[in-house]
Symmetry: C2
Subunit: 642 residues, 2 copies
């Protein structure tokens, strides 16, 4: 850490919760953060439960919970902690995420004071282990269609939890197979009030969450609860994913997590939000932190993979130039640089975008935050897209790192293969990436205040905002730090140096705006009869619009952080890293830029040449850039990276 | 199989060894071809050894060995069998490949009659299990730099096998950790004859292969042999990869596999090939079958993944159109089609290219084949590139299939995740893909007869063939079946329908030729002083040239098979599949096509629209196309694909 460039870059990457990151770097010990290779599933699960307890014993379970109930560091800090914990065993990370984030977070955010008093202390200390039981066999992405029922029996003041069909069985539920004593069960809430005799004499209020005890103190399933084990998965061997089925299981009505809708003294349903769709998405919106964490965690894992591969690439030699005494260091080959350095640059850029959504989450949901519905919807939309982009980046990067290390990369001891296997599921859990990108696009197309309803075709095409352009301009202009950059680029695209950041930013903005505008024009033609066909035919356009938007958010966040640095060598170096990120993205879409008259073919070729030049320029700084990622040496045990 | 379109497509895909494929479909039983999930490594290894024995007992060990020594079906048929076996557990596949292909193949091809008589029967029956010990800790891709020595002691007529350094330890060697009793050890051969006193009084003859007993009958390492275990890997848990180190281990000189170079009665080195580089690459060239197999095996695995994901996508429902009674089938979404159908189309196209190299291998190396050095070099070059393209296609496809199946895709029982973990290493073993693509490019740039020497910069840039264009034209014209197609396309690129196969072929040819020509012009400027820098700066160009060439070979092979079909519904369907393959490839490189004036931006957009149209058109045929892949139902146990 004596290199001042490393220190300055690290501080810039660390952002607002730098102190928590530093504390974690010192305290998160490899002794209990890492798992040995080759454990059986039973052994790995056992170890993970033990390490979860250790993390709670160290007090880390308290990060992110309300301070009034013994929590620490306030809400969004837990996302930063999650990133740091992602540098260890990812089974432990997910177990931690299930216990404190999903289970604990649902109790904290969907529950009210009586739940907080009764459960939070035991949750933070891991005395009460729990599950977050949302997904069902037949219902993954489309949560509104869940079939599990929670029917209110006013005669006993109880809710009856039931699994009516095979497709309603809860599945892939973390903590279920072995540890959970309680579960937050998402179910269709039904009451008797105001019934018109249909629906079995009940009125449905949509999906709500209910606390359901699932095991007794001895660990046996409670009566009416059938628990299954999902068995062997692609990764995360230490996480006990399983299934829950409920047969008329009765719980007190107080177990309903009723922050957004509850049952009154008279047995009737009460909620401050009348529209059921809006209520549902407001409830889900409070859980956006899970997606922030998954994005951040996968991004952190990708950084660790890059650290391993770049260290190896800086020492491994293969093939010699004629007359040379030694073989060449493989990172001196352009192909190797091309494989690793643009991905390293993207890892940097994504870090800043991750910091930005974490800070925004704190502003909107931290203690004392004022409700801001429009801000909340914008955040949800951005987080959905960023989660998709970051988890795919992580999968792609870890795989590239694995291959860049050859046979050695395939050995478990070098830490890359288990990481890929673990991160794999991040692309489809906490929201399937393809669905999330569509959600992000939807947020751009519709006014945020209209954004209720899920991803059915009409929801997407029905309420397209009138003035897309205006809103985007407004959003960008809000970022004063970037205004200078934007100004310098305007109108002189062809004159700017290819490696100018202001030119790149202008390209990112033009891409995002044009793709969105043309998408809006396309979807505006929808009628009730053709909505699905029209939407479906444009689905690739929808996904591209979302990605282009997120790429722009990423570059903007990165450039804001860069602008905030003091002029000097570290800032210059980061500038080149971000230029590599930006040009790689432009290169990837260069057909689009040519097709839409944004660059000519001469410039298009120059972009590729600049990417190569930047790889060459950054090569001597590769180890510096890796050091600045701040991964504790203790957690990099790969023999090839020592 | 009653659908005549399925039958006709399957027969077309099956190609020359259709009878062997049919036999394998009937006889390769799930009972011993599949492994349960969740085995410990020890259990999986044990099972794999048992299943290997079973395969030998069924007589499949004989496929590919010389009929004079009890072999069957002749040489290249073993590649077809390997493809079929890749539909089962891939640990077993690799174990089979190590025993019969690498170990047995080396004895058959590098050894002479005394080795064949002594060992082949026991190898084919798996009575003698063995290893192929080439890779060393410090020497993966650059095999010529191996450090292990085989020093001839004329006083005892023995070879002394020695591991002089840590980096010379043999590693990642299949069969080593548990089963091998013998190993083909690649080592620097040294003799005493003609020594000038340097090199410890020995003369070096380059890398040769020696049969070295490594374990006694009881399974214990023999004196001087240290055996290690590579332990947990990213996949292939049933394969016992390990390490060998030798301390002055003596074996009779008869153990030298001396087909290309041996030790005479007088203790001096004798070889029919004077140039040591040429000798080395001739020896390696006889082992090209391994790469043919790895490509074919990974391609077969990708087909199985596609079958699982497409079957699931054809029944899984999520999200409903407004007013619809049921949710939509997910394969009806364009995004889902886009994820799966172009990959299915590529799987088809690659099958034909795989058949073509297998047939060519038989012509060049089958029994009774006449030596054809130029043909052999062309095959090696094509196989190198095709192996890279196919293994990457497989990794990418299996991952896309896994994600397309959501959480279910992550469950081991659905057969996708272990497949990805297993195939992963295919990208870097039997030649690292990036290195192999460079080898393929080198074959194109230099006259095949000059193609000796490895991938150092001078080797690549030193001997660029004078008339690249001529040679390419000649090669293409040799394929009479395609001439008609080529003719119809010539000179009317902009008039052709975007979905015309002849236009697509013309694009593939223009891409391959132009990229190669410009690469040649670039590298021709090399001098002794700048060769490395020049080569390195062009490395991305080199890789692109190789890929463009292979893509062209793939399309040509596929179109030849298509041309050979009788007109009708099956031929029409395959035509559309191949068009989707071709247009997806053009779409991927469309920036290049625009930059180089091959298409204008209007046409470029039309390509994307055509890909979408073809996805929609092929959607109703997806299950037919999957059935035609001919994967035995018994081997698809994934619950989601039933």
């Amino acid at each position: 850490m004596s290199d001042p460039i490393v220190t300055e870059l690290r501080d810039t990457l660390d952002g607002r919760w730098a102190d928590l990151r530093r504390q974690a770097r010192e305290e998160l010990s490899a002794e209990w953060m890492l798992a040995p290779n080759g454990l059986s599933i039973a052994e790995h699960r056992e170890l993970t439960t033990k390490s979860l307890q250790r993390i709670a014993d160290e007090g880390y379970g308290r990060v992110g919970f309300p301070t009034a109930f013994g929590g620490e560091f306030d809400y969004a800090a837990s996302c930063v902690l999650f990133e740091m914990q992602a540098l260890g065993d990812l089974s432990l990370l997910v177990k931690v995420g299930v216990q404190f984030g999903l289970f604990g977070g649902a109790v904290a955010r969907l529950g009210t004071e009586r739940h907080h008093k009764a459960y939070l202390e035991d949750i933070m200390t891991a005395k009460l282990l729990g599950s977050f039981a949302m997904t069902e066999v037949g219902h993954g992405s489309n949560v509104q269609a869940l079939e599990t029922t929670a029917t209110y029996d006013d005669s006993t003041h109880e809710l009856i939890i039931d699994t009516p069909t095979e497709s309603a069985v809860k599945t892939y539920i973390g903590n279920a197979a072995k540890d959970a004593r309680m579960a937050v069960v998402f179910a269709q809430l039904r009451t008797e009030d105001g019934t018109d005799g249909t629906d079995g004499g009940h009125r449905g209020h949509g999906v709500h969450a209910v606390l359901v005890p699932v095991r007794d103190e001895a660990g046996n399933p409670l009566p009416g609860v059938t628990i299954g084990d999902n068995g062997v998965k692609g990764g995360l061997p230490g996480v006990d994913n399983g299934t829950f089925a409920f047969e008329q299981v009765r719980v007190p009505k107080d177990n309903l997590l009723d922050a957004f809708g509850g049952i009154g003294e008279d047995g009737s349903y009460v909620s401050s939000i009348d529209n059921p769709d809006r209520r549902f998405f407001t409830m889900l919106g409070t859980l956006v932190r899970g997606r922030v964490c998954v994005g951040g965690g996968s991004g952190a894992a990708a950084k660790k993979a890059l650290a391993i591969a770049i260290r190896y690439g800086s020492s491994r030699r293969q093939f010699s130039a004629p007359g040379a005494e030694q073989e060449n260091v493989i990172l001196d080959y352009l192909a190797h640089q091309r494989n690793l350095l643009p991905r390293l640059a993207k890892a940097y850029a994504l870090s800043f975008a991750q910091n930005a959504v974490t800070e925004r989450l704190q502003e909107l949901q931290g203690e004392g935050a004022e409700p801001d519905q429009e801000g909340q919807r914008e955040l949800e939309s951005r987080v959905a897209g960023l989660k998709a982009v970051t988890t795919w980046h992580a999968l792609d990067t870890i795989q590239a790192c694995r291959e860049a290390c050859g046979g050695a990369g395939y050995m478990a001891e070098n830490q890359l293969v288990q990481m890929h296997a673990d991160v794999d599921v991040f692309a489809t859990f906490e929201g399937d990436n393809t669905v999330l990108l569509q959600l992000a696009a939807k947020g751009l197309l519709t006014d945020y205040k209209e954004m209720w309803g899920d991803l059915d075709a009409m929801g997407m095409v029905g309420k397209i905002a009138g003035q897309l352009g205006d809103r985007l301009v407004e959003r960008t202009a809000g970022r004063a730090g970037l205004q200078r950059l934007i100004d310098t680029a305007t109108g002189r695209d062809d004159d700017s140096a290819t490696d100018s950041l202001s030119w790149a930013l202008s390209m990112f903005e033009q891409r995002a705006e044009h793709v969105l505008e043309t998408l809006g024009n396309r979807l505006r033609k929808a009628t009730k009869d053709n909505a699905f066909e029209l939407f479906n035919a444009a689905q690739d356009h929808v996904l591209f619009a979302a990605r282009a938007h997120i790429d722009r958010c990423v570059l903007e966040a990165a450039l804001e952080a860069h602008e905030g640095m003091t002029a000097g060598a570290a800032k210059d170096l980061l500038g080149r890293v971000l230029t590599l990120y930006a040009l790689s993205s432009i290169e990837q879409d260069k057909a689009w830029f040519i097709e839409h008259g944004r660059i000519n073919t001469t410039r298009s070729r120059a972009v590729t040449a600049s990417v190569n030049d930047l790889c060459r320029e950054l090569r001597p700084h590769a180890l510096t850039l890796v050091d600045a990622l701040g991964i504790p040496d203790e957690l990099i045990t790969a023999p090839i990276a020592q």
